[in-house]
């Protein structure tokens, strides 16, 4: 513990990474996602900004790691945009159903939503992260009004909560194909209708 912040330690040590993440959680919670900077997090962790970049390519990646999200929206978005535009509804619904079916992916996302529901500071951070890293990107890439993207986000947010938190039946037990059939046209209409 005593030599943690001594200059000259190896950049590869697990502690450095952990220290950056602890600092990141503090800075994201205080400043929100948009106003937090790599430089500010490096200062809080007392490391060189280059080292933060070495561990985490982007601010989105650092946020995902700090919140223990197993996936970063930047990894999902290419999947959405890669394919015919008239099938984006199906791709989006199927991707979200697949990701949330895995408890290891789902649990940290639900934890983030729970903290947003009960904590005013967390809500700002979560809102800014979803907006900057996900909703704005989709609206921009598809040339769709952000309100329509948010309507689609709300549909899938409600599905995940109704399926895994409220555990409404038959929704909680429904198969992916059945849900894609019902939900994909909704997302498709919001995004291209």
């Amino acid at each position: 513990m005593t030599d943690r912040r001594r200059p000259g330690r190896r950049p590869g040590s697990a502690d450095t990474r952990g220290e950056i993440l602890t600092a990141a959680r503090r800075v994201f919670a205080e400043k929100g996602f948009d106003k937090a900077t790599v430089r500010g997090i490096a200062r809080e962790a007392q490391v060189d900004p280059a080292l933060v970049h070495h561990y985490f390519d982007t601010k989105e990646g650092m946020f995902a790691a700090a919140m223990e999200l197993p996936i970063n929206p930047q990894q999902i978005l290419p999947v959405l945009f890669d394919g015919p535009r008239e099938e984006i509804g199906e791709r989006l619904v199927r991707t979200i159903l697949t990701l949330t079916a895995d408890e290891k992916t789902r649990a940290p996302v639900l934890a983030l939503l729970r903290s947003a529901m009960s904590n005013e500071q967390a809500v700002g951070m979560v809102r800014e992260f979803f907006t900057s890293a996900l909703l704005y990107q989709v609206a921009d890439r598809l040339g769709v009004p952000q309100l329509r993207v948010e309507a689609g986000f709300a549909q899938m947010l409600g599905i995940v909560l109704a399926r895994y938190v409220l555990k409404l039946e038959p929704l909680a037990s429904a198969g992916h194909d059945e849900l894609v059939e019902i939900l994909a046209p909704t997302i498709q209409r919001y995004f291209t209708g």
Copy 2:
């Protein structure tokens, strides 16, 4: 306090009603909505079941009062069903937007959802209440598969959370007409498509 449970007190006293509600909250939390009975709540409150009926017409009404919900789904459902079937999507979206725009209505509903998100005992009670008092009724009255009703519920749940908890913009500031235009066709398709 000492004479509260003495037989022969006046049925009209505010304490009796409060005592029934306290008992109801305890019984709903323990047994869930479906297994709770008027008789069991009367026993817990040490009053005559007829007195419970005198204060609360139905179990749904008692639940709404116990959870301090300002509205009972049984009061909303007739509004939904009263009118052309091809406009039910618009009626439902407009009703939910209007009800949740009022902070006095919204706050206890959000409190119920928050407790469901953080408490395994609450979640069962909330699930059963939504299913019995709302989702099952809609599916039954419209002759629609319950899965499709739940998809519509999920859409509106997501909208209320994204608008009032996450406060995503532009969704949080969007007007009712604009939202009805986007969302009504979704609900209409789920219910009659």
